[in-house]
Every structure is written in C-alpha cells, then in structure tokens.
C-alpha cells in the first residue's frame, strides 16, 4: 500500500495491522451455490407439496447451468411414460426460489397424450433453484429441481 501523505506514520501502521488481522478471519461464504446445499428450499414448491412426497426420476427439468441473461432462459420439462389409464398427467407446476412471483407457470393437460414434453422461456431474478412438479390423475406427484447461475449485464444499457 502506497504511503499517504494525509496519514501520519503511526495511523498508517494501525491501518496495516487492522487489515492484516481481518485477512486472518475465516472467509464467510459469499454465496453458496444451491446445487451443493441440500437444504436450499423452493418455498412455493414446499408449500405446494403440503407434506406429500414426490417421486424423482420420471420428471426431467432441463435448464442451462449458466444463463446468458436472466430475462430469457430456455427451459424444458419432460415426463417419461408410459401413461396407463388413470396414470395420465393432469398438470405441471413450475416454481422459482427467488423470483417475486414464485409460481412461474402451471401447465394443464385436459386430454391424455402419449408424450409429455413442454418447452418455454422463463425470467429469473438472479442465481437460484427452480422446481417442477407433475400431478398425476391418481394424485401421485413427480418432481425435479435444477440450479442455475444468472449473471447481470456488465454495462449499463441506456438505449
């Protein structure tokens, strides 16, 4: 650090000591990536489950690992079949951990179809976890979550 004419020598020394001790403090986790933290909650998803259990493995949620821009993030949800009578999908909910409106969309399937695959584009307010859950005709649930890093634009766009 360049010595400053404004500060007398003893104050400069005190500043250096303070900074040295601060560096010795354990680094607080600046931001824990959701993927490695099993206890990150998508509150709206948890509220929707209302204590029910959701199966995993049948529903897939594809979303980029890193979003080029949080305004438009492609997402694909697929539910693998086969769908026996009484086992068709009724609806799929999509939830956000951090968005101001946590329920991003609900998709309904009033008629049986052999292939259940949806694509859309979402807005994400920052790095977070998203959750999708399918509700079947017999009341059973299938869910998947995905973590996504969302960065902000480096330059101000005043155009």
């Amino acid at each position: 650090m360049k010595p400053s004419a404004q500060f007398p020598a003893n104050r400069r020394h005190a500043r250096r000591k303070l900074l040295a001790s601060a560096a010795a403090l354990p680094l607080l986790p600046a931001f824990a990536l959701a993927q490695s933290e099993p206890d990150v909650e998508v509150a709206a998803f948890k509220a929707f489950l209302a204590g029910r259990k959701a199966g995993t493995g049948r529903l897939t949620l594809d979303i980029p690992r890193i979003a080029d821009n949080g305004n438009v993030v492609p997402v694909r949800i697929a539910l693998s079949g086969p769908f026996a009578a009484g086992g068709e999908v009724r609806s799929i909910h999509l939830f956000s951990e951090k968005n101001p409106v946590p329920q991003m969309a609900v998709f309904h399937f009033p008629q049986a179809v052999a292939r259940v695959e949806i694509e859309s584009r979402v807005r994400l307010a920052g790095t977070q976890r998203v959750a999708a859950v399918a509700t079947m005709a017999d009341g059973s649930l299938h869910a998947a979550t995905a973590d996504i890093i969302v960065t902000v634009s480096a330059c101000i766009d005043g155009s």
């Binding site: 305004n71 956000s96 329920q103 609900v106 998709f107 008629q111 052999a114 694509e119 859309s120 584009r121």
Partner: protein
Amino acid sequence: MAEARIQVPPQVRRGEAFEVKILIRHAMETGYRLTDEGKPIARNVIRLITCRYNGVEVFRAEPSSGIAANPLFTFFVSARESGELQFEWQDDSGARNSERASITVAG
C-alpha cells in the same frame, strides 16, 4: 401485425403425438420496471392460454411475470381427426387474442 406464430407438422398419423409450438408477440410486462421518470410501468402479462383441438381443450397454460417476453410454448397433442387447433389468450389488460392452425391427419 404478427400476434403469434404457430408451428405444427404438415401431416400427422392418427394416434401419434405431434408437437405444437406457439410464439406470441407480447411484452409480458412484469410491473417491476420503471419509466425514465421513475414511475412503475403497469404489469400486463398473459394470464391464460388455451388450445382447443376441434373444440376440445387439449392444453392450458397459466403463465406469470416469470415467463419471458414474447413467450414460446411447445407441447404435444394426440392426433385424432383432421381439423383445427385454436389458441386463445388473454392478459391483465383484458385484451384477448386468438390464432389458429390446420391439422391434417392421415390414416
């Protein structure tokens, strides 16, 4: 004005699941943006989109401000008879729009 674009296969076989795509021109205004003067721009998002296949509803979506502007929706429909897919959507301002596409089913 291109309100929406719809894509369906040119021809489908009876019983098969075919992919339907719709891209809608809509700002999906979140309500969180401000004008240059700092006043909030009113929320106006599409709240409901329905797809009817010869009058029978086969798909319905309830988007929120969490769906991106100029939204895209793709999904699958089971082919029955030839006819029409009719989409309708409405937003917070009360505006309603519709668009249709023909379906040709062979076999």
